[in-house]
C-alpha cells in the first residue's frame, strides 16, 4: 500500500472510531464499516484499529478471522453470497451456483481478476420460503433462477465498472 493511501486509511479509521466509540465494544462495528469501504481488512488496518482501541492487533485479527462477513482476504466490490442451506438447496441453488461460476469465470471462494466480484457461500439467510436466495452486498434477491444471474451481474456492472452508466461509486444496496 502506498504511504499516502495508508495515511488516508488511518485517518478514516480514526474518524470511524470517533463516531462509533474508542472502546472494545466498538470493535465489530468498526470492522464491519472498514470491510464495507475497503472490501478487505488488511494487517495495517488491524494495527491501526488495535492502537485506537488499546488492544493488541492479534486480538483484532482473532475477531476478524471468526466472522464470516469479516475475514482478512480481499474481496470484490460486489460480494455475492448464495445460500446453501437446506430449503434453498431443495429449491435448486446448485444450478444458480453453476451459472454464477460460468458467467464470472471463477469458482466459489474466489474473486474476479478485476476485483469486481467475489462468490461466497452463505448459511441460511432467512429466505427459506423464497429460495434460492442470494445477497449482493446488502441487497437480497429471492427466487433466483439461473437465467436471472446474468441480469443481476449486469445490474452490478451498470453501477460500477469501466462501462458504468453512473460514474460515481455506488453501493448496490
Amino acid at each position: 500500500m502506498l504511504m499516502t493511501e495508508r495515511e488516508r486509511c488511518a485517518a478514516e479509521i480514526q474518524a470511524l472510531a470517533g463516531k462509533l466509540g474508542r472502546d472494545r465494544t466498538s470493535l465489530v462495528p468498526i470492522l464491519v464499516e472498514v470491510k464495507r469501504k475497503y472490501h478487505r481488512i488488511d494487517s495495517y488496518a488491524m494495527q491501526v484499529i488495535g492502537d485506537l482501541l488499546g488492544i493488541h492487533p492479534v486480538e483484532v485479527h482473532s475477531v476478524v478471522s471468526f466472522y464470516a462477513f469479516l475475514g482478512d482476504r480481499p474481496q470484490g466490490r460486489f460480494v455475492i453470497r448464495l445460500c446453501r442451506t437446506i430449503s434453498c438447496a431443495m429449491q435448486g441453488k446448485d444450478r444458480v451456483m453453476r451459472q454464477l461460476e460460468n458467467d464470472l469465470g471463477i469458482r466459489f471462494g474466489e474473486t474476479t481478476a478485476d476485483g469486481s466480484f467475489t462468490l461466497e457461500w452463505a448459511n441460511c439467510m432467512g429466505m427459506c420460503d423464497q429460495g434460492p436466495a442470494l445477497l449482493v452486498n446488502d441487497r437480497i434477491f429471492t427466487r433466483v433462477t439461473p437465467e436471472q444471474v446474468h441480469e443481476i451481474l449486469e445490474e452490478c456492472r451498470r453501477v460500477f465498472g469501466v462501462h458504468a452508466a453512473e460514474a460515481k461509486e455506488v453501493h448496490l444496496a
Binding site: 464470516a68 442451506t85 432467512g126 427459506c128 444496496a173
Partner: protein, 388 residues
C-alpha cells in the same frame, strides 16, 4: 385460522401504555400469568428471566433483543422486523420497565443488513413521538434502543456468544452459570429475548394474560409464529396456537403428502409421517418455529449431509465434542451415501452423537447430532446398503 394474524392486529402502543400504568411487580406478574415462554425455541419462561434481572442490583442493566435469526428454516423474525418493528420496540421498552433497564440493544444479524434502515427509521420516529427517550410519554421512564449489526455467525444466536460479539470478542459461548440475567453485557444484568417473545409481551400487556392463554395448551400457552418451507404448496410465515399437530399444520400449508418434517431447524428433530399426530408444543416437540417439509421423494441422507455441513462450518471450534464431532458425523453421512458404512461404524457414530449431546459446551454442539440420530433411527431402511 383468522385471516389477520393476532400480533398484526394489535392496537399501536396499547401494550406500552398498559405497562407504563402498571407497577413493576404487576407488569411481571401479568407476563407470568400469561405463561409466555421464549419464542426462540428454548422455551424458558419469560417472566422468570425478567424477575431474575429485576431482582439484581446494578448501576446499569440491558434489554437485548436477539434478532440473530440463523436457525435453518427460520424466517419469522425477519417478517416481524420488516412489518411490525414497533411491536418489538414496544416489547423491549416494556422489558426495560420490568427489569429497570434504561438501555436496549437490538442485535441484528449481518444477513439482515437490508432491514437496518427501516428499523433505524422506526426508532427515530419513536423518539420524536416520545415513545423512547428520557421521559417516555411523561411517565418518567427512561429507555432507548440502538441497533448493533452482527457479522455472520450462527453461534451468536446463543445468548452468551451474542454478548461476546457485542463486547468485541469472537462469538464463543461462555459457561453458564453465571447467566446473563446476573452477569451479562459488560458484566451487567441483561435479559436476552427473542424478537417474537418481545412482540408477544407487548400483545399480552395490551390484551391481558387471559386473552393470551385462552389458546394453546396448559404448558404451552398462546399462539406462535411458524416459518414453513420445503416441499409444500404454501410456504411462508403462519400463526397457530401451540399444541397444533404436525398433520394439522401440513394441511394448512398444503404439504400433506410429506414423508417427514424437520421441526426446530437443523438443530431440531426429524419427525416421520407415522408421528404426524404429535403436537408442536414445549412438552412434545419444542420449536422456535422452523418447519421444513420433506416430500415423498426427498433423499434423507442428502438432507443430513446439508445439515452437518452447516454445523461443521458454524461450530465456533471452542470445545472438542462439537469441533471434532460434527466433521466426523458429516464424514459418516458421506460414507452412508457412498454405501461404504458398516453397521458397527454407524453405531459408533450414534454413540459419538450422544456424547456430543452430553459433553458439548453450548446448545449448538448439544443439538447438532439430533437430526443425525433421528434420521438414523427413523429411516434406517432408506439409508443402509446404498449403491453409490
Amino acid at each position: 385460522m383468522s385471516a389477520i394474524p393476532t400480533y398484526a392486529a394489535q392496537v399501536p402502543e396499547a401494550g406500552l401504555k398498559a405497562a407504563l400504568a402498571a407497577s413493576r411487580p404487576g407488569l411481571i406478574s401479568e407476563i407470568a400469568a400469561s405463561g409466555l415462554k421464549g419464542r426462540g425455541g428454548a422455551g424458558f419462561p419469560t417472566s422468570v428471566k425478567w424477575n431474575f434481572a429485576a431482582a439484581a442490583q446494578a448501576e446499569r442493566k440491558f434489554v437485548i433483543c436477539n434478532a440473530d435469526e440463523g436457525e435453518p428454516g427460520t424466517f419469522k423474525d425477519r417478517v416481524i422486523l420488516m412489518e411490525h418493528p414497533d411491536l418489538v420496540f414496544e416489547g423491549m421498552t416494556i422489558a426495560g420497565k420490568a427489569i429497570g433497564a434504561r438501555e436496549g440493544i437490538l442485535f441484528l444479524r449481518g444477513e439482515y443488513t437490508y432491514l437496518r434502515g427501516g428499523l433505524e427509521h422506526a426508532l427515530a420516529r419513536r423518539r420524536e413521538q416520545g415513545l423512547l427517550g428520557p421521559d417516555i410519554l411523561g411517565s418518567g421512564l427512561a429507555f432507548d434502543i440502538r441497533v448493533f449489526m452482527g457479522a455472520g455467525a450462527y453461534i451468536c444466536g446463543e445468548e452468551t456468544a451474542l454478548i461476546e460479539c457485542l463486547e468485541g470478542f469472537r462469538g464463543e459461548p461462555r459457561n453458564r452459570p453465571p447467566f446473563p440475567v446476573d452477569t451479562g453485557y459488560l458484566g451487567f444484568p441483561s435479559v436476552v429475548n427473542n424478537v417474537e417473545t418481545l412482540a408477544w409481551a407487548a400483545c399480552i400487556m395490551a390484551n391481558g394474560a387471559q386473552w393470551f392463554r385462552s389458546v394453546g395448551t396448559e404448558k404451552s400457552t398462546g399462539r406462535k409464529l411458524f416459518s414453513v418451507s420445503g416441499d409444500c404448496r404454501r410456504p411462508g410465515v403462519y400463526e397457530f396456537p401451540l399444541g397444533i399437530t404436525v398433520a394439522q399444520l401440513l394441511k394448512e400449508v398444503d404439504g400433506s403428502d410429506a414423508k417427514a418434517v424437520q421441526i426446530g431447524g437443523a438443530a431440531g428433530q426429524c419427525v416421520p409421517a407415522r408421528d404426524f399426530g404429535r403436537t408442536l408444543a414445549f412438552e412434545d416437540i419444542p420449536t422456535g418455529g422452523s418447519v421444513i417439509v420433506f416430500g415423498p421423494h426427498r433423499d434423507m441422507l442428502a438432507v443430513l449431509h446439508n445439515f452437518l455441513e452447516f454445523f461443521a462450518d458454524e461450530s465456533c471450534g471452542q470445545c472438542t465434542p462439537c469441533r471434532v464431532g460434527n466433521p466426523r458425523l458429516l464424514d459418516g453421512v458421506a460414507q452412508l451415501q457412498a454405501g461404504t458404512c458398516s453397521m458397527a461404524y454407524l453405531k459408533e457414530l450414534c454413540a459419538l452423537g450422544e456424547t456430543m449431546q452430553i459433553a458439548s459446551k453450548c446448545g449448538l454442539g448439544q443439538s447438532s447430532p439430533n437430526a443425525f440420530l433421528s434420521v438414523v433411527a427413523q429411516f434406517r431402511e432408506e439409508i443402509m446398503g446404498r449403491m453409490s
